[in-house]
């Protein structure tokens, strides 16, 4: 018999246990932020948690209004001062953590725990704005579980539950909620464009490509191993020397600096292109870089990204900056010819050189061109010069002055791809050959785990394109000086002076294997989970048999699925829960079944003692067994204190019953 008792104040111990659950939930959820935010916020949250627990432990009252109000204002001011604003993701996260700390300090009854929980959920969301790696899944599951457990504990009027029971109940709720989550995740109508975008990718964090190229200003190229994009080929994979991924095309040169001016370029319609040669089909998953350019293998003709166009420089450009990881499929042809209506004007711009800059280069170019039989011959002579004279490939070139091309060609002769591309394009333009510098990536590492090509920021490259015989021709002058750079990638091409500990690490077999495995998992995660959006949702519905799925279909399908799930849940709660059978009774029933199999069937009304007596008469040989089992059973059943059966004796009974083999008729 249970009893419903009059409401009473929770005991000190109960209050303490509840607070402990709350603090565990709060600290777990703040975990990803604690190392990211300003140190004083971390210290404040930890300190306040410890303080609050000490108050509860000593049974002291929480701080009065005269301490709390100044504390709130001081904390808000401190956040504003630290981040110089209170909006934006970073400042917002800091603000949430400070609010959380203050709320914990204030929580007296636990009824406003729902506010603490809400702050926790917003914090989890804020963590995903920064990063959405695989750890997000356990983070969500444990974070929500802990707040559910804390809610269960706090809403108990009676004494708190033992930890095991809370965990069981919480696990039940979470497991039942998971199917609902999955259905909503896949079927909730996704909309393509954000309402208002707040950049979550810091603009300063970019490495790799830029919309300017200024070789003279770089004295050391820092290389980042972070992934620029991943590619999965549908069919053939191009050889390493053909993996030119086109990015921003630099057409404007001011003597020092090449710049990207494609935004103003006319949009090219695909119908005007003449294509030929082999083609490659692939899906490219681009990490966010905050700019408009998209990467594509030379030269893209078809692409799945809606809001993207091909510029006259054959560059794929997105109409909105790439702020989230996006995936698109594309088809690239080896040879593309275009018939521009205004070819002359187009290429005329690519001949332009600022007057007065790099005079030595100009003079040298005119002389060399006069010696050459044709444009091609002239360009080949330049490449021969790079190849035969003492030009070096290095990531630590000297800084160059006002006429960087002059200095590079005739003095330093040290540089990396950008120097060579810039110099080559300048030389071409000096001989009145239209030329442009293309930046992008070269190569990529093929992951044997999933056949993904991983292209890293350190694969960034620059090369040139020249207008020969009415067509654009790719020339990679870096190949002349460091041909292995094309074949092997940047890492291998570096000379011994560029020894790098990390590179050594990366080259050990085991480490490389581990990195590649991890990348395969991450790629799958990005491809199937993080990239899920309006397009994949449409595909999902089409695969499910909808011809032209629209919003109404989605909502209908979602509503039906959720209703079915909830009906199943209601059914389970109503009929599905069975009480656990009493282990003692179960053991005895096994015993009776054994006897019944041997021919002695227990009547319904027969008590254990009388049944044993009858069975012993019928089975004289098993008499001692029957009696010892029955005696033990009766003792455990009727003489146990309360309903708790001693485990040792129950085990003994189970053993006896297991060993019992009655002789049959």
């Amino acid at each position: 018999m249970d009893k419903l008792l009059p409401l009473h104040e929770p005991s000190a111990q109960d209050r303490r246990i509840r607070l402990l659950w709350l603090l565990i939930a709060v600290l777990f959820v703040s975990l990803p932020h604690l190392l990211q935010v300003n140190i004083w916020i971390t210290l404040m949250l930890l300190g306040v948690s410890a303080w609050r627990y000490a108050l509860e432990y000593r049974n002291w009252s929480v701080p009065s209004v005269w301490i709390k109000v100044p504390l709130v204002f001081a904390a808000l001011a401190a956040v504003g001062f630290t981040y110089r604003s209170i909006t934006g993701v970073e400042a917002g996260t800091g603000l949430l953590l400070v609010m959380l700390a203050l709320k914990i300090l204030e929580t007296k009854t636990g009824r406003d725990l729902i506010v603490v929980s809400a702050i926790c959920w917003f914090l989890m969301f804020a963590a995903f704005l920064r990063e959405q790696q695989l750890w997000a899944i356990p983070y969500i599951l444990f974070g929500i579980s802990l707040s559910v457990a804390a809610l269960i504990q706090i809403h108990r009027v009676s004494a708190v539950l033992p930890a095991r029971q809370v965990i069981t109940k919480t696990a039940g709720i979470i497991i039942q909620a998971l199917p609902i989550m999955l259905v909503l995740f896949f079927l909730f109508p996704r909309i393509p464009a954000p309402f208002w975008a707040m950049s979550t990718v810091g603009s300063s964090a970019q490495t790799g490509l830029s919309d300017q190229l200024n070789p003279g200003d770089i004295s050391s190229l820092s290389r980042s191993d972070s992934v620029a994009f991943r590619v999965r080929f549908n069919g053939a994979i191009p050889p390493a020397s053909e993996r030119y991924w086109r990015g921003p095309v630099m057409t404007y040169f001011n003597g020092r600096e090449w710049s990207w001016a494609d935004r103003g370029e006319p949009i090219l319609s695909v119908e005007e292109l003449l294509v030929g040669g082999t083609y490659y089909e692939y899906e490219l998953m681009l990490e966010p870089h905050g700019r408009e350019w998209l990467l594509a293998l030379e030269s893209p003709v078809q692409w799945s990204q809606n809001k993207a166009y091909l510029s006259a420089n054959l560059q794929l450009i997105s109409q909105i900056p790439v702020r989230q990881r996006i995936a698109y499929t594309a088809r690239s042809y080896q040879f593309v010819q275009k018939q521009l209506p205004d070819v002359e004007r187009h290429i005329q711009a690519m001949r332009h050189l600022p007057s007065g800059s790099n005079p030595e280069t100009l003079a040298f170019a005119l002389k060399l061109r006069n010696e050459s039989s044709s444009d091609s011959d002239y360009l080949n002579r330049i490449l021969d010069m790079f190849r035969q004279q003492n030009f070096y490939y290095t990531l630590r070139p000297p800084r160059l002055g006002n006429n960087p091309v002059d200095q590079f060609l005739f003095a330093s002769r040290r540089g990396f791809c950008e120097h060579y591309a810039s110099a080559f394009a300048t030389l071409a333009r000096a001989a009145n050959i239209p030329a442009r510098v293309v930046t992008g990536y070269l190569g990529g590492e093929l992951n044997p785990m999933n056949n993904d090509l991983i292209v890293r920021q350190s694969d960034a490259h620059a090369w040139t394109e020249v207008w020969i015989d009415g067509n654009w021709l790719r020339v990679d002058p870096t190949a002349a000086v460091a041909p292995q750079r094309i074949e092997l990638g940047l890492d291998e091409a570096l000379s011994a002076s560029d020894f790098d500990f990390r590179r050594n690490m990366r080259n050990t077999q085991l480490f490389r294997q581990a990195i590649l495995s991890l990348d395969a998992v991450n790629a799958a995660w990005n491809r199937w989970v993080l990239a899920f959006g309006p397009e994949m949702q449409q595909d999902l519905l089409r695969n499910a048999g909808f011809d032209k799925p629209d919003m109404r279909d989605l909502i209908l399908l979602m509503a039906i699925s959720i209703s079915l799930l909830l009906a199943a849940l209601a059914y389970y709660l109503r009929f599905g829960i069975r009480s656990k059978k009493d282990p003692l009774l179960q053991t005895y029933e096994t015993f009776c079944k054994k006897l019944a199999d041997s021919g002695v069937i227990r009547h319904r009304s027969e008590g254990p003692a009388s049944f044993a007596a009858r069975a012993s008469r019928l089975r004289q040989t098993d008499r001692s067994h029957i009696e010892s089992i029955t005696q033990l059973y009766i003792r455990l059943r009727y003489e146990s204190i309360g309903s708790i059966v001693p485990a040792a004796e129950l085990r003994q009974l189970t053993k006896l019953v297991k060993a019992f083999k009655p002789t049959s008729d």
Binding site: M1, F122, I144, V148, I152, M181, V529
Partner: protein, 336 residues
């Protein structure tokens, strides 16, 4: 002087109360008056979000808008898991209450001014254990507790009494906010229950005694116990003081010593003999006399206008008398 905030609070409380009254009227009309034992079927278990539940919904909505805005898939996962938790919690909350069977056990008579205790039994016939079931009169939850699977629980709801007669138990409400406090499921039960309230016995016995005529109280001059006449089997209502414990222990049955009553003159507690002008005061004084007479093992009788309880003693006689006092309705005109 009331501030605008207080006025607003008062208005919202007024609206809430009015709404609650309307819904209760509707529920009563829908369910009718219940039997003394009633199973809380699903269709009579109601559920609404609590204030925390409404807040939760707003938070989930904000998270959803954030996720849509940033097209953040882990944000969606978080939002939708919370949605799932909310929906599951709603079902758990409703199921936690539905299917319980509440039966009225008893309501022992009390003296006016004491709390009448309406006792109930809740049967949980399911294999599902019930957590944090609250019960109370009207909206206020008075008691709360867990009920294990296939078990029953008892509880008592106190009701303040002020005057004698029958007191009616108002609507009973069973409720739960388990598991997360986001929803509150409740089941109103309208049983037609009454408890008897005896008049409050007056303290001023001395006054009564001195004011009373010697004639009516002649029976009070009793000395000791009567002559022992023999043993008989225990009947309910016998005073514990008369049980022959030694014989009972040896024989295994309860025996009661019987005394000859021949020498005892019955005490009459008589309405007309008491000097109070007011009906209620007089009844209170009579109540005191009845209780004292019973405590002293007297044989006593009760005389009220129109009602006479013949002299006897024992537990059931006491309650018979008290009941007559509680129920007494003076004829018009009230005084002879």
């Amino acid at each position: 002087m009331k501030g605008p905030a207080e006025t607003l609070c008062a208005i919202s409380a007024g609206i809430r109360n009015a709404l609650r009254e309307r819904s209760n009227q509707w529920i009563l009309k829908r369910q009718g008056i219940d039997d003394v034992s009633v199973t809380l079927h699903r269709r009579r278990t109601y559920i609404l979000p609590t204030r925390a539940g409404a807040f939760f919904a707003v938070v989930v909505l904000m998270l959803l808008i954030g996720s849509l805005n940033y097209a953040n898939n882990m944000g969606f996962a978080l939002t939708f898991l919370l949605t799932g938790v909310g929906l599951v919690a709603m079902h758990h909350c409703h199921r936690n209450l539905a299917g319980l069977c509440i039966s009225f056990k008893q309501a022992k008579p009390v003296f006016a001014g004491d709390k009448a205790q309406f006792e109930f039994i809740i049967d949980n016939t399911d294999a599902l254990s019930r957590s944090q079931i609250g019960a109370g009169l009207k909206e206020a939850t008075a008691v709360c507790g867990d009920i294990r699977a296939k078990n029953r629980a008892i509880f008592a709801l106190p009701l303040v009494t002020s005057k004698r007669g029958w007191i009616t138990c108002p609507r009973i409400e069973l409720s739960t906010t388990y598991p997360l406090g986001l929803f509150r499921a409740w089941a109103p039960v309208h049983m037609d229950l009454q408890a008897l309230v005896y008049p409050r016995p007056t303290n001023r016995l001395q006054t009564i005694l001195s004011a009373s005529s010697a004639q009516s109280l002649s029976g009070l001059s009793l000395i000791g116990e009567d002559e022992f006449s023999g043993l008989r089997e225990y009947r309910s209502g016998d005073s514990l003081r008369n049980i022959a414990w030694k014989s009972a222990a040896s024989l295994g049955i309860l025996l009661v010593k019987e005394y000859k009553e021949g020498g005892q003159t019955p005490l009459w507690i008589d309405w007309s003999q008491l000097p109070y002008p007011e009906t209620e005061t007089r009844l209170c004084a009579m109540c005191r006399l009845v209780i004292d007479a019973d405590a002293e093992q007297q044989v006593y009788g009760l005389r009220l206008p129109g009602v006479t309880v013949s002299p006897e003693k024992g537990h059931s006689h006491l309650h018979h008398c008290l009941r007559e006092l509680a129920m007494f309705a003076p004829a018009k005109p009230s005084r002879s």
